[in-house]
Structures are given as C-alpha cells and as structure tokens.
C-alpha cells in the first residue's frame, strides 16, 4: 500500500488530525474511529433519535431501518449469509458470556472436557472456568509455544470426548494467528462445538465465518474502528434456535402472560431491552468502512508494517521480539527491550507521544506460562504508517539512556 493511500486514510481519523504528533500503537486495546463512524452516531442522535422496533412514526421506522441495515453490513464483513444469525451484544466479553450462560448451561455436563488454549484472554477463559465450576466440567489446555503459536501434536488426545473448544483467532499478546480451520475441522470431527474469539481477528484479517468451521464467533465493535459498547455473536441458526435466551425483557418476547411467555424469533430473541442503537449504527459504519478499504488491503498494509517493524526494531541492540514467524503474525508486537520493565518503557514512550501497552494484557495464565510478569506491546491498525515505527525506534533508544549504567 503506497504512502499516499496511507495518508489519505489517516485523515479519516479525527483524533489523528487533532493530534498529529501522536503515535497510537494500542489498537489491540481499542482502535481509533473514522469520521464516518462518529457521523453515523451523530446523525442518529440529531436526525432520528427514536427507539426501534415498536414505533409507528417515521423517525422510529428510520431508526429501525438503519439498525437492521447495520446488521447487514457487519454480516457482509464477516461473510455471514444470514443476518438473523448475527446477534448484537455489548462486546466480545458479553457475547462469550451469552454462550456460556445459554448453550453452556444446557450442553456442558459434569465431567465434560472443555478445551481452551494457553493463549486466551481472560474474557475467553474466566467464563469457561466459571461454567466448569458450576457444571463440574474439566478444562484442558492446548499449550502455547514461547512465540505464541500453538502445540497441536497432542490435539486429538485433548479433543477426546470434548464438548467445547474455545480459542482465539489471533493472540492479543503475540499477534500469533491460530490455524483456525485445522482446529475447527479436528474439533468438529471429534464431536466438539467450537467457539472462536475473533476480537483480534475480525479487525485485521479477511473473514469468511461460514468457511472457518466454527459454531460461534464473538468479536467487539470498538476494536474494529467501531464505537465502544458494541459487539456481535455469530452462530449457526440451529444452535441459536435451540438455545434458551440470555437476558429477558422487552423486545426478546413474543407474547407475555403473568406466569409465562413465548420468545421472539432470531435475532431478537437474544436482544432484550433497548439496544445500543447509536453504537450499532456506528459498528455498521465501521464494517462499511472496512469493506470499502477491503480486508485484503488491510492485511497487506499490516504485513508491510509488520515486515518493516520487525526489521527496524529488530536491529536495535537488546530488542527481542516475542512472536511468531511473519506469515503467522497479525496486529500486535510484544517485545522486551534491554531488560527495561514494560511499565517503565510505556511511561518513557508516552513522554514521546507514543502510546503502547504494558502488562499482562488480560492474560495472566499465559504470562505465568512464559515466565514473565508482562510484556511491552505495540499494536497496529490500518491508520498506522512506517513513520510510526521510526518514531518508536528512536524513542526506544532514547528510553534506554535513562537506564544506561543501571541495567546495562
């Protein structure tokens, strides 16, 4: 992707326009938002601010139309042919908890193995831990290698009798891309249901959810250029129809009596109460934006940046990249630098207007496994440019001055 394209994209992001000096390298935590996303929210509030689905006036009708159109946009982005199978949630965490409380309660029985990987974010670990405790199920672990790739040699053993396999598409710590299709294929062959945590996948990689082989896919809007408070759960129709609802209340019902009720059809059965209407419209606009750029172009741009970063930073004395080979690498660059503690690095880089993250990245068990208390992580998105990497390299060297004579 040429510099010209990069720059024109950057001007779509008001925060970068307002702070041209800023180098934002924390998109794995949350991404910046393009103008069209903010505009989708603003125009809802200023032009057709009404509740949806039940209104008999035009403004409410228009809000409802935009709400359902946004669902179509995100369905298109992930390659889902049936928008009714795309459930709005408030984020990845909410989507995974939805599955744990509904499908999980119904299908995980005492003694059932649940297979996770050692890479999982707390949001794709703690809900299963809790479910396992409630249902007396057992957790099994696909082990990560030190570079964030997964050890699959003993996979068939782990899958024996497994009811559920839940794993991340892309590690938020290492940026390592899991072999999704292989794991899904082998898991389903073993009779397991598969949940894919796509929080770090959908924003970076082309997605054809129906071909990946998973049964559930969860992701967040705020990491894919959309607003906070949005997310989605995708699943197959048979599964969604067989599941009990999660939250109960308005909109998810069909008929209500004092002692019982019947539930609404998909997708509404899982969308109780007034949803995050403005947020949903923003997430739809984010999907449209990504579709417009093209996810293959997003990936190509990211690969270019990753290649450059691995070269440029890799040549710094004392820089150690924690991560997989380039072709399995997406989004996040974790590293250690000259023994400087990640917090100290983050503070020193912040002084140079560079935002990186430091710590356990909501992956404490992974940190224990690799024997670290945390890493420094720079993570990328389509608005980053090579100059951001240059700035990072210079700032790292400057940071090293502080600890010269102390650590090295």
């Amino acid at each position: 992707m040429s510099v010209k394209v990069e720059l024109s994209r950057r001007s779509d992001f008001p925060l970068l326009e307002n702070q041209p000096e800023l180098v934002y390298l924390d998109s794995a935590a949350t991404s910046l938002k393009p103008r069209s996303v903010l505009e989708a929210e603003r125009s809802y509030y200023e032009e057709c601010c009404a509740n949806i689905h039940r209104g008999l006036y035009r403004m409410s009708e228009e809000a409802t139309r935009r709400y359902e159109e946004a669902r179509h946009s995100v369905a298109r982005l992930i390659g889902a042919s049936d928008p009714d199978c795309c459930i709005w949630t408030s984020g990845t965490t909410d989507a995974i908890n939805l599955v744990a409380y509904t499908w999980g309660e119904q299908n995980i029985l005492p003694g059932d193995p649940i297979v996770l990987t050692g890479l999982e974010h707390h949001s794709n670990l703690v809900p299963w831990q809790n479910l396992a405790t409630r249902q007396q199920a057992r957790l099994r672990w696909i082990e990560p290698r030190p570079d964030g790739t997964l050890e699959l040699d003993n996979l068939d053993e782990l899958l024996e009798g497994a009811r559920l396999v839940a794993f991340t598409w892309v590690s938020n710590v290492f940026g390592s891309i899991s072999p999704v299709q292989e794991i899904c294929r082998r898991a389903r062959a073993a009779g397991a249901t598969v949940l894919l945590d796509a929080a770090q996948g959908v924003p970076h990689l082309p997605c054809a959810v129906e071909e990946m082989g998973c049964d559930f896919m969860a992701f967040s809007g705020h990491k894919m250029l959309g607003p906070t408070g949005t997310g989605m759960l995708w699943s197959r129709r048979e599964l969604l129809e067989a599941m009990p609802p999660f939250r109960f209340g308005g909109d998810m019902i069909r008929e209500v009596w004092r002692d019982r009720c019947t539930f609404n059809e998909l997708p509404f059965k899982f969308e109780a109460g007034t949803p995050n209407i403005a947020g949903v419209l923003g997430m739809g606009a984010a999907a449209d934006y990504l579709l417009d750029v093209g996810m293959a172009n997003v990936r190509a741009h990211e690969l270019d940046l990753l290649t450059y970063a691995r070269e440029c930073l890799g040549s710094l004395e004392g820089f150690e990249l924690l991560g997989p080979p380039l072709d399995q690498h997406s989004g996040a660059l974790s590293f250690v630098y000259r023994g400087i503690h990640p917090h100290d690095l983050a503070t020193l880089l912040d002084r140079e207007n560079i935002c990186i993250r430091a710590g356990h990245h909501c992956c404490q068990p992974l940190m224990r496994r690799i024997g670290m208390s945390g890493t420094a992580r720079a993570s990328l998105s389509l608005y980053n440019i090579r100059a951001d990497i240059d700035r990072l390299a210079v700032a790292l060297e400057k940071a090293s001055q502080v600890f010269k004579g102390v650590l090295f």
């Binding site: 100290d344 945390g374 001055q401 502080v402 600890f403 102390v406």
Partner: protein, 143 residues
C-alpha cells in the same frame, strides 16, 4: 544517566541495588501484595520485637518505581516502632495521592522525596504505593 523528573538517580540506584532484598528466616509478619492492573507483585516481611521493626525484607517483580519504593521502605522502617511505621506510611501515601501539593516534602520522608516526581504520573502512583499498601496489610495483623 540523564537527569529526569521521574527517574531520579536515587530511584535508579535503589532499583539497581535494592537494600533489604530477600527473605527473613522466621518473619513475625509476612504479606503478599499485587497490583492487578499490571501484574506487579511484592512480598514484605518483618521481624518485630517489642513493637519495633528489627528487620525488614522484600521480594518482588515489578517496575523500577515499585521496586525502588519497596527498597526504600524496608531500609527506612528498620528500627522504627510500629506506630512510627504506620505514621510514616500514612504521610507517604498522603503525599503521593495529592498531585497538587506544592508544599516541600515532609522531612520525615527522607529519601522518599525522590518519588515526588511520580505524582505527575497518576497510573504510576500505584506502583510507588504497592509495597506500602502491602506493609499496611501486614501491620493489620499486628493489631
């Protein structure tokens, strides 16, 4: 080494050469502390005789600020009565949490004054306080 509002020489000095690092044989009090936000962890141990800290030690993993603060803490409290230690901790916490306090640092805090610069970095204040909050946890048992 360059001069720096946050990373003062004395902090880096403690970080590089911590005092009182290690374990006590049979500590009177022992307390673990973690900062869940970032994963920093510290253990504080005290030998107490007649309401006085005879020896103090710490172990832990963390950034320069949290480890330097732990090192200063343990070296400062040796020899002090528990009441004096509590007062010192209270004074230090108050100082750290008041970003806009323009007063000179209370003399009592001694070389802890070097941590004054941390107040301008609110998220790092937690690092500076980790060992102290852990100490206060240990002292609660002493009541």
């Amino acid at each position: 080494m360059i001069s720096d509002d946050l990373y003062r020489e004395i902090i880096l000095e403690h970080y590089a050469h911590p005092r009182c690092k290690g374990k006590l044989e049979a500590p009177t009090f022992r307390q673990d502390g973690v900062n869940p936000t970032c994963g920093d962890a510290v253990t504080v141990e005290l030998d107490v005789k007649d309401n006085r800290v005879v020896r103090a030690a710490f172990e832990g993993v963390g950034c320069s600020i949290s480890l330097a603060s732990a090192s200063m803490l343990t070296s400062l409290i040796e020899g002090k009565t528990l009441d004096e230690v509590r007062e010192l901790a209270a004074t230090f916490k108050k100082r750290m949490l008041n970003r806009n306090d323009a007063e000179p640092c209370p003399e009592q805090l001694g070389e802890l004054e070097a941590l004054d610069g941390v107040r301008q970095y609110p998220v790092r204040v937690k690092c500076a306080l980790l060992a102290w909050n852990t100490l206060l946890g240990a002292l609660e048992e002493a009541l």
